[in-house]
Symmetry: C2
Subunit: 126 residues, 2 copies
């Protein structure tokens, strides 16, 4: 649970049109009531098209204090919504930076919702 | 180059038999003369089978001091060798922990060689 709750930059793995994997660092937030992950993204990035083509994704959250402790979520992008006010982006700015600012690219901001189907965790002794 | 050289735990993205992505934390070493990445792995883990089925992988190396700075490599596993002495494992122990110990599971240790075809880096101003 702490790995879901702490503001850790996750590795977001998606599928390219060829089917090959790729991975990028991403902010995320866990929505405990819905049991989904939300990511802020833009409609101008490759991943926006890629996840519409193949919604299967994985998110790897590594404990920055002990990188052998981690949580991997696998699942699918079940929803993509426009975020014309940048509301999710600002929420994630607050979560990750402690402050929020005007979202210059709010016209292209989108909110991705990931429904995890599998959680794989490892919590080795230090 | 520093992201390749520093002992950072990387996110290793592979393809499951279904074609879905997955990601795990992994030690790695960059071999500058060959321009390949080596990972120590075991023949008992799922990924060992998965990369033989589909060799396409990605490795994401996030700067732990500034997680918006990163290097993503995409490529293929071009070689898998047994490592019956655990030599690569010990080399990676030294790289990541500063000391090495006997490799208890050396009978199943393997060395994966990844040839990167694409490097994507991001080095934003702080």
């Amino acid at each position: 649970m702490d790995l879901l709750e702490r503001p850790i930059v996750a590795a977001f793995a998606t599928l390219r049109p060829s089917g090959a994997p790729q991975a990028h660092p991403m902010w995320f937030v866990w929505e405990p009531d819905e049991e989904v992950i939300r990511l802020t993204h833009t409609s101008e990035r490759h991943n926006y098209r890629y996840v519409q083509r193949d919604a299967r994704v994985a998110l790897l959250i590594i404990d920055p204090d002990f990188p052998y402790r981690y949580l991997q979520l696998r699942g699918s992008v079940i929803d993509i919504q426009k975020d014309p006010e940048g509301a999710l982006y600002q929420r994630l700015q607050l979560r990750y930076r402690g402050t929020s600012s005007e979202v210059a690219d709010r016209a292209v901001r989108v909110a991705l919702t990931i429904q995890p189907s599998t959680f794989v965790g490892r919590n080795p002794r230090r």
